[in-house]
């Protein structure tokens, strides 16, 4: 059963390295779009109980903007990019060339711009993923919502919950220090996809 799959240290390292390159690609892409320096941390790869996941994003009732993409292909997965509300507003200011602090809610154009960022990040990420694994993965059109982090995570977790009690989470934090923008990028493979990915990586 996939849920019981125990990953070796080498396999976790391999996944971390994929995450690292994927996120590196994404950070570069984002940096080019907003013309700012974007830093990222070393991705965290962990197998966590589902109920713990909301705590990874500042607690289930923290208000965040979530951009969700379903990933199709041989290793179906979910991508969720979460930004604290304030970060999302600053990012919109930057994208729209407005003075910082002007955005206080999201209109249709703002949402559209943020979804495009989701597209760019996931495209760059999945390209790197392909380089490592030769698994082609295509993201769906993004969907966006602003709400409690726990509520947004439900979408992903309910899906995993049918298959098991734990989730493999590859998490990267993006940060643009000068602009006070930060966000968390999650790649959460479906339970059945994990074996496909591990197999493709070829690490024992």
């Amino acid at each position: 059963m996939t849920d019981e799959l125990n990953l070796s240290a080498n396999q976790l390292d391999a996944l971390r390295e994929i995450g690292n390159v994927g996120a590196g690609n994404s950070a570069t892409a984002l940096s080019q779009v907003i013309n700012r320096r974007i830093d990222m941390n070393v991705p965290k790869v962990s197998m966590v109980p589902l109920e713990v996941v909301p705590d990874l994003v500042g607690g289930p009732d923290a208000v965040v903007v979530g951009i969700f993409m379903r990933v199709y292909g041989k290793a179906p997965s979910n991508i969720l990019f979460l930004l604290p509300q304030k970060s999302a507003f600053y990012l919109v200011d930057t994208l729209m060339g407005k003075p910082r602090g002007q955005t206080t809610s999201l209109d249709f154009m703002d949402e559209s711009a943020l979804m495009e960022i989701g597209n760019i990040l996931s495209g760059a990420y999945l390209n790197a993923f392909f380089t490592f694994t030769q698994i082609t993965m295509l993201p769906s059109i993004p969907a966006l919502a602003m709400d409690m982090a726990g509520a947004l995570l439900n979408v992903v977790l309910a899906q995993l919950g049918q298959m098991g009690d734990r989730a493999l989470v590859i998490e990267t934090e993006f940060l643009s220090e000068d602009d006070g923008i930060n966000g968390q990028f999650f790649l959460v493979p479906d339970p059945g996809s994990l074996e496909t990915i591990i197999h493709a990586v070829g690490v024992e």
């Binding site: 602003m146 509520a151 947004l152 009690d165």
Partner: protein, 161 residues
């Protein structure tokens, strides 16, 4: 000093007055409360999925409506609630992201709400209030002093049901 008892996802807690039981950030999940107004004893269950028979075996029965509710019912009765006086309130079951081709899993909120109602009916427990559906998250709590079930949202206000 009244206790605030926190319930995580796929979990439940039971208690008695003057405690309040709270669960944060429900999206497609459902918060189901049971309450005996006379004994002032109750519980709150935070389910993720409707039906354990459509899923792989789990270590955590509180994840599902069909397995979680009987468990919480047992614990509420063990605390001294009277089964005939028990009433239920439910909230949650939203669809957080709007997709054009919503798959089954995207509609899990609706299915959760249906399952919660069916199982309560099977257990012969009356639902006296409900706030389900929509596209927004909810934080829910039940005050065991009076059975007031509070539903908080980010921009749809706060209500008592």
């Amino acid at each position: 000093m009244a206790d605030l008892i926190r319930v995580g996802m796929a979990d439940y807690k039971v208690g008695s007055a003057p405690s309040t039981i709270i669960s944060y950030g429900l999206g497609s999940c459902i918060g189901i409360s049971l309450y005996d107004p006379q004994a002032k004893i109750g519980g709150l269950l935070h389910i993720m999925l409707p039906d354990s028979t459509q899923a792989r075996p789990t270590e955590n029965p509180a994840k599902f409506a069909d397995t979680g509710l009987p468990l919480m019912l047992k614990d509420v009765l063990a605390l001294g609630a009277n089964r005939a006086r028990l009433v239920a309130k439910i909230a949650g079951g939203a669809q957080m992201f709007a997709f054009q081709n919503a798959t089954d899993i995207m509609r899990v909120g609706t299915r959760n709400a249906e399952a919660a109602k069916k199982i309560l009916k099977d257990l012969n427990i009356k639902i006296i209030a409900e706030d389900t559906g929509g596209t927004y998250g909810r934080t829910v709590s039940i005050d065991l002093n009076d059975g007031v079930y509070k539903v908080k949202t980010i921009d749809k206000g706060e209500k008592e049901i």
